[in-house]
Symmetry: C2
């Protein structure tokens, strides 16, 4: 199993790359090619749009890779997603793509194009406390489709997104068909009033209203609301589900943390 790592959003740290390669070497069941683009730095991004796009298209088109693993989130994959999907080469279709957070823009577009994608931990997660387990979980899924890596209550077809990313891809060419989907969302570093506003936007969408149920992963590092917001994140999500007639399915085991589980998009749980 050969896995390519590229960074369509923000750069991978050298220390993270070292640690992940050490884990891979100890496993002995896969080989990791970390594309040098992953370490480029240009302002916010892992190199300019052109470098991030070229690296992504290069590994997508290379039939020797079985999977493409996104190095890290942050921001920026939306800037190259449409171009990455243009004239998708045949070799790009035989792979699995994994990532989360900002990589959701690519997961959405790739899934819509009929490709196998999964929400799951990324290489940079090795730097979190407990991050080795997150990396092991991602590789267990990529290499041997270990069901222990999966979010435990998935009712396929499923999808998972960062709430803000999903809100920002509605109405764009990346928006996938959500009909009948077990939709998992999570959030990080937002104020509760923003989460409320984004839920307003999300649940007004006819496409989102077609999901089978909406489940809420962890909402971490909530920024201070001034003045304090009256209710918590679960109450906000339940409220907007009730207003829009979307079945609320309770909590989900995903988030911006080392416990983050794998969610294969669609009905592809193998």
């Amino acid at each position: 199993m050969r896995i390519a790592v590229v960074a369509p959003s923000c750069p991978l740290k050298a220390k993270a790359a070292e640690r992940v390669q050490a884990i891979v070497a100890a496993r002995g069941d896969c080989e990791l090619f970390i594309h040098p683009q992953s370490f480029l730095v240009e302002g916010h991004f892992a190199g300019p749009d052109s470098a991030r796009l070229d690296a992504l298209r290069e590994v997508m088109a290379d039939p020797s890779f079985d999977a493409v693993w996104f190095a890290r989130g942050g921001y920026g994959s939306n800037r190259i997603a449409e171009a990455a999907l243009e004239g998708l080469p045949e070799a790009a279709r035989g792979k699995t793509y994994m990532g989360y957070s900002d990589a959701g823009f690519l997961l959405a577009g790739l899934y819509k194009a009929g490709v196998d994608v999964a929400w799951g931990p990324m290489a940079q997660d090795v730097m979190r406390s407990g991050g080795e387990a997150a990396v092991a979980r991602a590789l267990d899924w990529l290499v041997r489709r270990d069901p222990a890596a999966l979010e435990p209550e998935l009712d396929p077809p499923a999808m998972a997104f960062n709430l803000t990313v999903l809100s920002n891809l509605l109405g764009t060419p990346l928006e996938p068909d959500l009909a009948g989907v077990d939709l998992l969302i999570e959030e990080v570093s937002e104020q509760l009033y923003r989460i409320d506003r984004t839920m307003f936007h999300l649940t007004a969408s006819a496409n989102v209203r077609g999901v089978a149920r909406l489940r809420l992963g962890r909402v971490s590092d909530i920024l201070a609301n001034d003045p304090e917001f009256a209710v918590d994140e679960a109450a906000i999500v339940e409220d907007w589900c009730a207003r829009s007639g979307i079945p609320y399915g309770g909590r989900a085991d995903i988030g911006h943390d080392a416990q983050n589980r794998v969610v294969p998009f669609g009905s592809r749980s193998h």
Copy 2:
């Protein structure tokens, strides 16, 4: 001219109400009814949804008011906008509605319902440095349609929105038809990466792509981007306009400040 003030988002400060009433008394050309709901406080909001909705519907339905002036932005008008527009009473149609920022959710919905709305300063703006001039500008427009209050380069039909508010109302029942519109946007207290992401979302919309041109008001209190974003807000907006084929019309004289000008929606410049 009788003007009603209500607060569909965040509460008005008592001190601001005093100052605005003093300005109104000195003018002698209008009368201001500040609905007591404007001073309610419940967490983030000027009272619960029901109180904000009731006050708004009350002044909308009262034929003795010629205008409804929103007290303040913040967050929350989206939570009551659809309900406020249900079964719009005839008396609601004969008035002008003014506000900006979060009030954009209501401006959009009211305009879509065929009512006369304008982007412009709000009562709470009197507390800004130079805020008396902002309040005078708003009243000059509401009372006597003073063209000096207008954004100077409007090419009607025009509309103005806070960028994040506009992004969050796309795809909702509040979204107005933007075809051929001179669209002005502004922003406050966001990081540049967020502005870039929101512009991605905005300019992917077929509706937004139908505007005559997009102009950028002031972007104030930009939050630190870590690491620094490579380009500034004007470059971001120009870039997304170029990518999406939207004519970029340069800067506009609106923003979260005392200089904020009036933008009557549509072709109604009288």
